[in-house]
């Protein structure tokens, strides 16, 4: 059994709301697994249970073979959590923040110093280690936030939307360091609502929406769910929903959804059928302002599976 994380039938509700509903997945040794879903999909709730912060309503979590619950000290040793919101003391320096959490992980004095130096290098804060975290840029704070999760060399690193609210440059460096970590053999559970990040980083992706895992697989597997279809994106002037409904009757169209002022159709052999599509939009009373045809990506997969856009 080489799965570092096994979740089976995870459930958690807040009142009436089923934030996570019967979610099962596995993360293998050295694998980077992405949970891709829009805001409120249940990503943070799911990983909070995996990290032992939140009790489950049902289901089982095994980390490196040990059962994870909020009281499971042994299982928590295997997990490094990087919360979505920064969780650092701004009035302490980077080194002090790291030292504090190293103590909480019960690392001894000698081991702490070496490991902290190493982590500071990895997150690129070695030369600013003595400055208070409150004075750091947003990207530096994020990197420190990640560094804390790496300290005790966990088997499983959980990153919850680590690039949200980060400038493009820092974002890139964060993604690069996650790639490096994966190369080093650590297992990563990565949540995001950015399709590009999931595509770039993750070996396998679980698509999550409204608490349910709606699909799972490699990028290639997920995209092939749509089949050998093309994506036609039309910018329309008028009622996009009505236009999308009208397009469904066109021959070869698999699915047709409105996304803002656009209509997105998945269809076979789009090239020969564009005139029919444009005509259908016309009959709905709307008119087409622009057309784009391309190969499908995860964004389209999500739309196809849920009828919703990944981003608002």
């Amino acid at each position: 059994m080489d799965a570092v994380l096994q979740c089976t039938g995870l459930r958690r509700a807040f009142g009436e709301l089923k934030a996570v509903d019967d979610v099962s997945f596995e993360v293998g040794a050295g694998e980077t697994y992405g949970l891709l879903g829009p805001n409120g999909a249940g990503k943070t709730t799911a990983i909070s249970m995996v990290a032992g912060l939140l009790a489950t309503d049902g289901g089982e979590i095994l980390v490196a073979g040990e059962v994870m619950t909020p009281r499971a000290s042994a299982a928590k040793r295997h997990v490094g959590l990087v919360p979505q919101e920064l969780a650092i003391y701004p009035d302490l320096t980077a080194r002090e923040n790291l030292d504090f959490f190293a103590r909480l992980y019960g690392m001894d004095k000698g081991g702490r110093a070496n490991r902290i130096d190493r982590v500071l290098e990895v997150i690129g804060l070695a030369d600013r280690a003595g400055d208070r975290a409150g004075e750091y840029s947003g990207g530096m704070k994020r990197r420190l936030n990640i560094g804390i999760g790496l300290l005790h060399e966990p088997r499983l690193l959980i990153l919850d939307e680590p690039t949200v609210g980060v400038d493009p440059q820092s974002r890139n460096s964060i993604l690069a360091s996650v790639e490096d970590l994966a190369t080093d053999g650590i297992s990563v559970l990565y949540t995001t609502h950015y399709m590009e990040e999931a595509e770039r980083l993750c070996d396998r992706i679980g698509v999550i929406d409204r608490g349910r895992l709606v699909a799972e697989g490699t990028r290639r597997e997920l995209v092939s769910r749509i089949g050998e279809q093309d994506v036609v994106r039309m910018k329309v002037v008028g009622d996009a929903s009505a236009a999308a409904a009208a397009c469904e009757s066109v021959e070869g169209v698999g699915s047709s959804d409105a996304e803002g002022d656009e209509v997105v159709c998945l269809m076979d052999a789009a090239a020969g059928r564009l005139p029919a599509l444009l005509a259908a939009v016309g009959t709905s009373g709307a008119s087409v302002a622009g057309v784009q045809v391309r190969e499908p990506d995860l964004e389209d997969v999500f739309l196809h599976l849920t009828g919703n856009a990944l981003r608002d």
Binding site: A87, D91, L104
Partner: protein
């Protein structure tokens, strides 16, 4: 003991340590924790310990006046200066340069020797501080005149020569403890008696100790809220540290802050202001218990307040009101009876009562057992309450 105890203690200390470091780093704390307590110790010292350190002018010449000046000086830190004449004295007093003045007219020495009645003038502004000053002066004068008065009595009864008796009485006086004579003579003013022999800053110091320990603990509860707001508290729960250990660490942090503030005030006032803190054991236990109460109150506030601004605002308000009611701003002895009962609704009331016993009446642990017991009970209840609410606030 289970093998987990060692690491658990390490974790508790790690969390407590960080909370203390953060308190010391907060810049606005520097003034409130380090400077303000000392300012207030001095201020209260001048206000209520006033008789002790008040500058008093004395007009008069001769050996008898010198003796009186010496006695006045011994009255517990009254600061005596010699002034040339009565006009200058009145001037200095009315301008506030002197707290009061004593005018010893011609023939004081002769009157004492002959055991004749003699009037000494007292000059002061019409305020309450002057009243206590006057009792101090009266005490000194009474002590000085004790031999003479005794001689007068004996002379009246026996018909012997008064001046001979004065000499005799003076000889005897050297062998009798003068303190007893003073106490007997001053007996009329209980307040003055209560505070006699106190150093100038003793009074302010203990009151301020409790005020600031409580204030710093409650206002410092903002740091606990930040620990929650920063997400660090939640993150601690993702480490192997068990919840009770994290809670103990956060509680320990509050206690460390309270103890730090207490130790700072005790050390600095002992070294810098020569304050007498009484029996070390009794004071130690009292201060420790009070710190636990303050820390628990801070933890409770830090668990129920919504944000750090609310916590420090409410904290300062509660701390000042409790301190005022509990006799930390003005000695409880100055309170009317009803207010003294109300004072006992605050931990300060009990602590200040105990401190008065320890410092002014040389009380030991046994003498303040009731106060210590009450504070211990408050500490237990508040700590339990605070632990439950904090647990709720950080465990989901």
């Amino acid at each position: 003991m289970s093998p987990a105890v060692g690491p658990a203690v390490g974790t508790v200390l790690a969390i407590s340590r960080v909370e203390l470091i953060r308190m010391l780093r907060e810049r606005s704390n520097l003034f409130f924790v380090f400077v303000l307590p000392l300012l207030l110790v001095v201020f209260i010292g001048l206000q209520f310990g006033g008789t002790a350190g008040t500058p008093v002018g004395v007009v008069g010449d001769g050996a008898a006046t010198d003796e009186l000046v010496e006695l006045l000086d011994e009255q517990g830190g009254v600061n005596v200066t010699r002034v040339d004449d009565a006009d200058e004295l009145e001037d200095l007093v009315s301008r506030g340069n002197l707290g009061g003045g004593v005018v010893v007219g011609e023939g004081y020495g002769a009157a004492l020797a002959a055991a004749e009645p003699f009037t000494i003038g007292f000059v002061a502004r019409p305020d309450s501080a002057s009243m206590s000053l006057r009792t101090v002066v009266e005490a000194a004068v009474a002590e000085h005149a004790a031999a003479s008065q005794a001689a007068r009595h004996v002379a009246d009864v026996t018909g012997l020569e008064a001046s001979t008796l004065v000499d005799l009485a003076d000889d005897v006086r050297g062998e009798v403890a003068t303190v007893t004579v003073t106490a007997a003579e001053v007996g009329g003013d209980a307040l003055a008696e209560e505070f006699a022999g106190l150093g100038q800053f003793d009074l302010g110091a203990s009151g301020q100790l409790f005020l600031f320990v409580f204030l710093t603990s409650l206002a410092g509860s903002a740091a606990l809220i930040q620990t929650r707001q920063y997400g660090v508290a939640a993150r601690m729960m993702s480490t192997p540290a068990p919840t009770p250990v994290v809670l103990a660490g956060l509680a320990g942090g509050r206690l460390a802050v309270a103890l730090f503030q207490a130790l700072y005030i005790i050390v600095v006032t002992t070294v810098g202001f020569d304050v007498d803190w009484g029996d070390p054991l009794a004071t130690g236990v009292l201060v420790l218990l009070f710190c636990v109460v303050a820390a628990a109150a801070g933890m409770l506030l830090g668990s129920v307040a919504r944000n750090d601004a609310q916590a420090s605002g409410a904290g300062v308000g509660i701390a000042l009101v409790a301190a005022a009611l509990g006799g930390s701003m003005m000695p409880l002895e100055f309170f009317p009876e009803g207010m003294r009962q109300i004072a006992l609704l605050t931990p300060h009331g009990w602590a200040n009562t105990a401190m008065a016993e320890i410092v002014r009446r040389d009380g030991g642990v046994a003498d303040v057992a009731v106060e210590l017991g009450v504070l211990a009970a408050i500490a237990v209840v508040l700590t339990a309450l605070a632990t439950v609410t904090l647990r709720r606030a950080i465990v989901r």
